[in-house]
């Protein structure tokens, strides 16, 4: 699989790069927990193990690298389950000059090539469309009453107590349990047009400000990757960092250092580009019909 991925990108003149796993800063997303370690030299410094190589790769893009890809380890704390291991392998790539559509096309081509027939005829649907299909709710407009009614009908009334009036949390919950399991029955399914409150590092759509230029890839209800039309506005990026750092504080989560290097790289100019990260262990699970992520790892965290 790794060899074929490398051939795929070599044919398209995308450069393979390597970026640090240990860094002074880290992603600020409240949902991602990180590992830290201490660098002992003249003074002790706290370093972060990267939850994704995104920031470093964007710095390369800003420095004029052109299209790049990387296959590397990423680390996310507190994540263990059938589809999760705290240390996992990621394929991340950025295409300069691509928009979201171009990237979706390339993702489909890569998956069809890798899967030898398993991923033929990929589907493409908008978030709003699938959300309405399985819940009858409007994903872009939050109505506490309508969302709560639906949860009660589904015998999921506990959602009301912990989602409260948090629209993004409701979307996470309903999408995870009522929508996602139905996506990509024996084929690849790309979901695009995420609500703006779930924009992460994507741009807001130029025509519809309620929607973010972001897509995800699913197969049989399993999430395989997340693609963005990359945000390049350093001030907007800074605002999102600050907002997330603030959320982390109010939720009493571990403190994080925002990546000033990324901000200055964005300031100097990130070319228009689209990028995506794919969980390779999960892809391998699907290609080999494995039931648990531990089946495709040499040693999972319990035995590492």
């Amino acid at each position: 699989m790794l060899q074929r991925i490398r051939v795929f990108f070599a044919q398209r003149n995308v450069l393979e790069v390597e970026t640090p796993l240990l860094s002074h800063a880290c992603g600020t997303e409240p949902q991602l927990a990180f590992f830290t370690t201490t660098f002992e030299f003249s003074t002790s410094e706290k370093l972060f193990l990267q939850t994704s190589p995104e920031f470093a790769m964007k710095r390369l893009l800003a420095a004029g690298s052109g299209s790049i890809y990387q296959i590397c380890k990423a680390f996310r704390n507190s994540e263990v389950g059938r589809f999760h291991n705290p240390e996992f392998t990621m394929l991340e790539w950025y295409r300069v000059g691509f928009d979201l559509n171009d990237l979706m096309n390339e993702v489909e081509t890569l998956f069809v090539e890798l899967s030898e027939g398993k991923f033929n005829a990929p589907q493409r649907k908008s978030y709003v469309q699938v959300f309405a299909q399985y819940t009858d709710l409007n994903a872009l407009e939050f109505s506490f009453d309508a969302y709560s009614d639906f949860a009660i009908k589904q015998e999921m009334s506990e959602a009301i107590t912990f989602c409260e009036h948090n629209h993004a949390l409701w979307l996470d919950y309903l999408f995870s349990f009522c929508v996602q399991p139905n996506l990509g029955k024996n084929t690849l399914c790309l979901i695009y047009g995420y609500p703006a409150c779930q924009s992460a590092l994507a741009r807001i759509n130029a025509e519809n400000s309620l929607v973010a230029d972001r897509f995800e890839v699913f197969f049989n209800g399993v999430e395989l990757g997340n693609g963005f039309y990359e945000l390049k506005d350093s001030e907007e990026q800074n605002r999102r960092f600050e907002a997330e750092i603030h959320t982390r504080k109010t939720q009493h989560l571990a403190n994080v250092v925002k990546d000033e290097h990324l901000l200055s790289a964005l300031k100097s100019g990130l070319p228009d580009c689209a990028g995506i990260a794919i969980g390779l262990d999960r892809l391998l699970m699907i290609l080999t019909n494995a039931d648990r992520i531990s089946d495709v790892l040499s040693f999972d965290i319990e035995r590492a």
């Binding site: 263990v80 995870s176 995800e216």
Partner: protein, 189 residues
Amino acid sequence: MAVYSTNEFRSGLKVMLDNDPCAIIENEFVKPGKGQAFNRVKIRNLKTGRVIERTFKSGESLEGADVVDMEMQYLYNDGDYRHFMNQETFEQYQADAKTVGDTALWLKDQDMCTVTLWNDSPLAVTPANFVELEIVETDPGVRGDTSGGGGKPAKLSTGAVVRVPLFVAQGEIIKVDTRTAEYISRVKE
């Protein structure tokens, strides 16, 4: 009592949920790549036996339940309560008909069974996997019947009714699997 967070939920863990003692059956970690992590948990309510599914935000916690399984000897039935004794401490416990439930059909005086205690009072009673009971009522067998035949109902001393082979007669003692209510063999005295 200890408090357990979602990542400590393992199959068999006993916790308190909605004021009832429950046992965790299954715990699946669900996380959107860019969103909140959840745990979808299958739980058995130990009082009602009902299995429910419940979602938690990862990191939420539940109080542990003081539930223990203990081997005890069944002593007698006083009409309202059945009495059990811990043979090491000689402590006695009584359980009402609701608590004992269908297990009553397999309880013979002096037999050992498992009593589940919650806060030191009986929550459920589980019979031994195999019990030996006397047949008090069954149709007489017909000559020439072998174990290959169809079988007939037989009422046991505890009130349970099981299917037995045609050659088994009233007054005999048989061994029964309590999990399936199936006849295993005759027991020679």
